[in-house]
């Protein structure tokens, strides 16, 4: 009896000498505890390796830049029509249409410029947490608590819900989805801790991405076409960089102390910004392989739900649970403006494809366009 109890905590003599090489061999086929210990050792080594390349801080490099002295965004359009919390929005490539989805199961296609609603679809579920415009603008996908992604073809027909098709499914809620370069492939992230790549036409599962230890909250695809990589953020506090072809993660970025709610590539494709429940935003550089910036203040207490960067990457927009959008100077790491944007939590912020405007969605059931 006592032997069985002792089993998991038994330390092999090899692990005690701390030698990495022999440790690895010892770990093969050994207990979870020993494997976990090895992960910790390797993680520390990686931290040391990364630290070697940390020769200068971002704010030092950014010193030579002129500060952003006066800066103001105003609300230019207010899109009203959702009956409850707006949970997600996505710009169309035509720079003037927006798709949005809400807690009461509605998907709305807006001509944001004229503020007209062009289509309203009622989903057979509540909490539609994500919606995405196809790159050609010809269809829209959405999903949430129904654990599915449904595709709607946009046409001049009154009722676009006649042309719907389920193309993806998970075993838990779907938190994010995005088309990959074309209308033909879709990437989805879910509360079941995986991401999946789907062929849109056939609904065929092309690849499953496993590596997160908790709910996947967000994803973003590299703006550089040759990159073949994408990002994901999760409730396990970590952001991962994936190789879309091999299905493996190629970089791990930790630092956040709570759920990573949003990740967004820098327009250069070399870095990415993230927003988290820990009330901070951060900037990670892919080539330096580490965190290079952090955006926080004592007076910001609430979770950040969504981030996006301006076309030049100089401004970071972040929507928080305190009803505000904070605008940060990405390089100097200072806040340049607060937008008292909404009357409830800001769930989503997104810069328009041409960089001319910012859209924000909120639990106050409105969407606003800022310029």
């Amino acid at each position: 009896m006592s032997a069985i109890v002792d089993e998991p905590s038994r330390i092999s003599p090899l692990t005690q000498n701390g030698d990495l090489h022999s440790l690895h061999h010892a770990a093969n086929g050994d207990t979870i505890e020993e494997l976990t210990k090895e992960v910790e050792v390797l993680k520390k080594k990686l931290e040391e390796e990364r630290a070697k390349f940390n020769d200068v801080a971002l704010n030092v490099v950014a010193q030579k830049l002129d500060p952003i002295t006066s800066f103001q965004l105003k609300s230019r359009r207010s899109l009203k029509g959702h009956q409850s919390k707006v949970l997600a929005l996505d710009w169309s490539c035509d720079k003037r249409h927006i798709a949005s989805s809400s807690q009461d199961g509605k998907l709305v296609i807006w001509d944001a410029f004229s503020t007209n609603k062009e289509h309203v679809v009622t989903m057979p579920t509540t909490w539609v947490m994500t919606c995405a415009y196809a790159p050609t603008g010809s269809c829209v996908t959405c999903g949430g608590l129904d654990n599915k992604i449904t595709l709607y073809k946009l046409s001049t027909d009154e009722d676009i819900s006649k042309q719907k098709r389920v193309i993806a499914s998970h075993t838990n809620y779907i938190s994010c989805n995005q088309f990959v370069f074309s209308d033909q492939q879709l990437l989805t992230g879910s509360g079941d801790s995986t991401l999946k790549l789907w062929d849109v036409e056939t609904g065929q599962l092309m690849q499953t991405f496993q590596g997160h230890q908790a709910d996947v909250m967000c994803l973003d695809i590299s703006p550089s076409e040759a990159g073949n990589i994408f990002l994901s953020g999760s409730a396990d506090h970590v952001a991962l960089v994936w190789d879309i072809r091999s299905g493996q993660y190629v970089q791990i970025f930790d630092g956040h102390e709570s759920d990573v709610n949003s990740v967004k590539f820098h327009p250069s494709g070399d870095a990415f910004a993230s927003g988290s429940d820990d009330a901070t935003c951060r900037l990670f550089d892919l080539r330096a392989d580490r965190q290079v910036g952090i955006y926080k203040k004592d007076s910001i207490l609430f979770a950040c739900n969504s981030v996006d960067l301006s076309l030049s990457g100089r401004l970071l927009f972040a929507g928080y649970n305190d009803y505000c959008i904070n605008v940060w100077d990405t390089l100097k790491s200072v806040r340049v403006s607060i937008l008292y944007a909404h009357e409830n939590r800001v769930t989503s912020v997104q810069v328009s494809p041409d960089g001319a405007a910012l859209a924000s969605a909120s639990w106050d059931s409105t969407i606003k366009v800022w310029a």
Binding site: H24, I32, L35, L42, L58, V61, A62, L65, T69, S70, F71, Q72, S84, D94, K95, R96, T126, W127, G144, S175, F181, Q184, G191, E201, Q210, D215, E225, A226, N228, A235, D243, R245, S246, Q248, Y249, I252, E257, H266, D270, D277, D278, A279, D285, L286, D289, R290, D298, F302, S310, L311, S312, R314, L315, C324, L331, Y340, D354, A356, W363, D364
Partner: protein, 516 residues
Amino acid sequence: MEISHNHLLSKPSYPRYYAFQRMEKVIKAMQHRQTGIPIKSQKLFLTTISNAFTGEDLIDWLEKNLEIEEIDEALHLATLLCKFGYYFQVTENGSTNVKEDSELYRFQSPYFWISTNWNAGHIDYAIYLLKRTMRNQEKHGLNDLELTILEDLRKKLAHQWDFVKMQADAQIKVLKDRKKAEKTFLDSQERAFWKIMRSANNSSSVLEEDARVNLMQVNPKFTKKDEFIRKKISFFEQSLKNRVRTKASQALQNLCAYSEIYFEYDGIFGHCQPSNPWITDDTTMWEVSSPLVEQPTQLRVKKWLFSFRELLSDPTGVREFMKFCEVEFSVENLKFYLACQAVKRAPLSELPILVHKIYKEHLSPEAGAEVNVNDIIRNKITKELDNPSRTIFYEAEKHIFELMKKNSYSRFEQSEIYKNLLEKAIIPAPKKSKIFHFVTLDYFRNRDESTDESDDDEQRGDFVAGGIYAPTAQSISAAAAGLTLSIAAAAGIKRHFSSSIDGKSDTAGLAIQNEN
């Protein structure tokens, strides 16, 4: 609404855990004896309110202690904390909108913090209401709504009503031993607490949670945990061994350079040609920036020199580059590259036909427009031909991309064709130009950004932008000079930078390959 996820609150995995923790840290600091908000008995008309502080002191404290520069932010934060019930207005009015005035507030006891009472449900509320019916009618009597709720609860909780009654009796007994001032104090805290708790079914309540909260996997179970960890171990080993890292200085320099170069394209900074449609309602900008245009704008043509990728990502750029390649008789490379893009975008069903067509045209021994790739790449493609994937041409495409970048693209940059394009490029004028422009500092041929910026600024009216260069109407010349200098600086780093843009994909690709 029954609030029932209390058991999660103590765990850091609970999504709101950090918000409560951070708020409570601030509240505790506010209550510090020496450095907190001055709390004293305050006179309100003829009565004295004990243990209270003013809105003015609260705002003042927030500004000093949380490094808040703008009063709006302090007011906003103070109001939010009030909505979460950490303090409440002493007067019956009970508004949660904090102002910088002499309105009196009192701290909520931690006993009544929402985070510690997440579970408080119908029974607790029933006890509270019943208790009040047992006290002085004039002071504690229930209003009509509360009476209805109490009746409702009495029916709903019939089987537990004895317990409710017992609890209420006991609490009354405890109260009797307290001093009067203390009683008033406790009563106000309890009332404030229930006010927030009972608004939970109101859609604007701060207590409302994301649906995901109930679905979160608090302890995710892995069927193959050891496999998961092994994967992580092999990742770390690969990352230590093979990943090529850039020094932070280099990486950050690139980010700064990128922002500088693209600054004059960033619409949020007011750089929209001719004007931002969202501000002026003039959609000319969208017309001139559509994917395929007869006459591209000057800024757009300039962008094509930033990097080869930038050129290839613009359909108009591709069209012009194609013309150049035709003159050079090197059109097969570009055609092959574009065909590879089509493969990536094709539906699976069309893939085999498409791939075979490309192979026949560009890669097979009898290809009409053969591209120059080595045998290793070619053989790999040949093997995959019968069962092609979207990435079949990945290596070949990369190879041809580099080839074009080194040869055709670098010649294109220097070519007469490009110079002509730049000369012919348009600078769209705003429809209503109100300002007379008098500054032209022209360090660069054919550029006149300062015009569009100042005009745009004028059109925007209330848009105080220009950001970095802060052009007010009075300082246009200074702004223009600043802009030009910065462009010069940007142009200086551009060369080096643009090579790194395209170079990046290689390192990334290399790293990925290594990890495979």
